[in-house]
Symmetry: C2
Subunit: 307 residues, 2 copies
């Protein structure tokens, strides 16, 4: 097949103003993205599967408190953390998704446990946590997932709401991490994980665990999205990229650009996505001010960017 591997990741999109980004946080963000690229590409370089690579990359992003997934997830309006995640393997379209999850250290591994250890695709709430438990995945206490920054963001959001205002910072609804990969056999996979939106209603599920919306992998492309989840669901963002490539013969670039700029953007669907095709091409379009992102292809140095 491709003889090329490729891995692309994102750590969320939104109004990431340069002025709000201290040099320290900027540096830490690039370092976090690089660690995730390294975790995934080490597997691909050794001939490992795209599925293992996206799982490893997303685990690294979940472990990094800077990003809104796993450790460092945002809080709901009730002061809790509810995490969603999904993983999909392109070759056979197997998929696993969890929503409203709390407990497993790496929600993406819980999604993978649903895919590999159950006949189901989507599991919610405590039942999803139970599958992770049965799979022997590590769990963490609330103190592990807690970060002061996210807690302060919730207090700020609640204070604004109490005054009838909404945050001007669209980034509060844009925290998600994800990875897509093409392995040396030309197999594709996608993985996405999120804490959702700061101050979201408990029980709200965004596009991350909705196969075809925020996460998709088949034999033609793999996609992981980040943005205004409801719009990604309503327009089936990820599935539409695959459909345009398959039915219209569009390139990965053209299809991904079309969906981000012509379908999502005009419909209040701010955000972006990372995508890869079976030839190892990558696309990382976004219509927001920035998107934490990075990619690496075989034999090349990894690249990370924010704006």
């Amino acid at each position: 097949m491709s003889q090329t591997f490729a891995l692309a990741i994102h750590g969320g999109a939104g109004t990431i103003r340069r002025s709000d980004l201290t040099p320290e946080i900027e540096q830490a963000t690039h370092a976090g993205l690089l660690r995730a690229l390294e975790a995934g590409s080490a597997i691909l370089r050794d001939g490992g599967s795209a599925l293992d690579a996206v799982t490893a990359a997303v685990c690294a992003l979940e472990d990094e408190p800077l990003f809104n997934a796993g450790r460092g997830a945002v809080f709901t309006s009730a002061g809790r953390q509810e995490m969603d995640a999904a993983v999909m393997n392109g070759a056979d379209r197997r998929a696993g998704a969890v929503a409203g999850l709390f407990g497993p250290r790496n929600p993406i591994r819980a999604a993978r446990a649903v895919m590999e250890g159950s006949p189901h695709v989507m599991m919610i709430g405590e039942a999803a946590a139970r599958i992770a438990q049965e799979a022997g995945l590590p769990f963490e206490e609330a103190s592990y997932f807690f970060t002061q920054k996210r807690w302060d963001a919730l207090q700020e959001t609640l204070a604004l709401r109490a005054r009838g205002e909404t945050s001007s910072d669209a980034a509060v609804r844009h925290g998600t991490v994800g990875a897509v990969a093409c392995d040396l056999n030309g197999n594709l996979a996608a993985a996405t994980s999120t804490g959702g939106m700061t101050g979201k209603a408990p029980g709200r599920v965004g596009d991350t665990p909705v196969i075809g919306a925020g996460t998709l992998a088949d034999d033609i492309c793999a996609v992981s999205g980040t943005g205004h989840g409801e719009v990604f669901i309503r327009y089936g963002a990820a599935a539409e990229i695959a459909a345009r490539m398959r039915h219209l013969g569009e390139s990965l670039d053209a299809a991904a650009d079309h969906v981000v700029h012509r379908v999502l953007a005009p419909n209040d669907g701010s955000g972006g996505l990372v995508a890869v095709d079976r030839h190892g091409n990558v696309a990382l379009p976004f219509n927001s001010e920035g998107m934490y992102r990075g990619y690496v292809r075989s034999g090349k140095a990894p690249v990370t960017a924010i704006y």
Copy 2:
């Protein structure tokens, strides 16, 4: 626009053996389907919206204990009922979905409350019930939803499992109701509601509330599915019909047939779907032995069928 209205409904698909169907149940099933067709078509005839028509049709199916949605929903392995539902309006692609719901008499109205009364698309569990409560929807006690037939089916499923066997009756995983409509203005809508599979794991979510899988409406077609939900999700069944019509120029019939017989059937995706386009054409393909179904078009008598 079309000057024709059309409404198509289903009450589930699966191995519905003629030998298992008493004349009394067969007659009651046709009568239940006819009531739902009448509830929806009365609205369309008066110039009402496709959205109102599919909501009314699905409410009628939920109220009928013969079908696996609302009253008469199946039981999980824990002996509880967990309902999923979704509704989508084609013109503006607004959508609402609920999963793991118990309480509201009509889960489809809860899905619509999410669509119309919240900024979200998908809500799960108690949070979904809360939105229904805030919308003033009627709730019912467990005794209202209980039917002896479904309870006996659970006991039978659990007994089989205890002996390491599985039911030969695929119908246990195929209970769903749904409706699609094209109104006199050529607007489309889809609605789907289900109790899931008998003896399903608590927390399992099928294709019904996954927009693009079991439910979809846009400006070209509306689709509601019933069948092996996991496969409908993995292949994005409903979205693929819309994509084939939009990108390949296929007719509703051709696109729906392709997905049911060429995409789902070869991948263990037994089941079927109802679909309608903006010209009022209807398609009701299935790859299972039967599918409770019916349709009505303006000026014509309603048609119902099982095999």
